[in-house]
Symmetry: C2
Subunit: 116 residues, 2 copies
Amino acid sequence: MRDDRFCNSNCPFTRAIGTISNKWKPIIINVIGTRTIRFGQLDAIIPHISRKVLTEQLKELEEDGLLERLAYKELPPRVEYKLSEKGLAFLPILEYIKEWNSKYEIVPILEEPDYK
Amino acid sequence: MRDDRFCNSNCPFTRAIGTISNKWKPIIINVIGTRTIRFGQLDAIIPHISRKVLTEQLKELEEDGLLERLAYKELPPRVEYKLSEKGLAFLPILEYIKEWNSKYEIVPILEEPDYK
DNA sequence: TATTTTGGTTACTATTAGGTAACTACAAAA
DNA sequence: TTTTGTAGTTACCTAATAGTAACCAAAATA
């Protein structure tokens, strides 16, 4: 899932890209934002993602210290996710990307967000 | 190469991620920076990239308006690439990512950049 | 008793991305 | 005459990623 050539690079920027620059991670981080959210909610809110891929991505985000996972010892299970300090510090970058996009993207048909 | 579900999303953020969030594009944009650079130089400077993938990525960046391609009618051929206004406007985002990374990454062994 | 709920995991398959090597054009230099 | 240089393209093959469907536990609910 992660490219070792990026993650083991001796260049810090290359490592950073290896950590966060795939298509699902920015989406997941953006959806979580400042809230605490359960697995099922993420699965329901994020379009087109499968539970399998969601699980994998969440695991990697946790390993890389962007995400905190809180599993309650209950049945049926309850697991909550929220961004760590590192993850929260990434949110402004996503906001810059949104600004950059709205300034330069050639206008397409619709403008509704996939989620709120 | 590009995921249609992202690029045709009605959510502008999702589209933006579809456009720029793969592992090679931020690297390429960062390497080009503010200079004009030839294909062969990019190929030599960026570690691990094959000419095939480099060509594909450059083509997509051009299609998405981040990159300008200038082909001289010479033999042997000479092609120069440089960032467009849209591409240049993306550079600060890469700088934020570098800052974010240096602040939060768990210190690894080496700190040399792959390229200058 | 059967069904639902939740957050996964597993096995299998399909799709996509990426790597490798050979090849192109043509001028200039050796 | 052969080699060199540039910026690719093409075909073929392998590796990585993603999708699908079935399955799990154990308590609560119908």
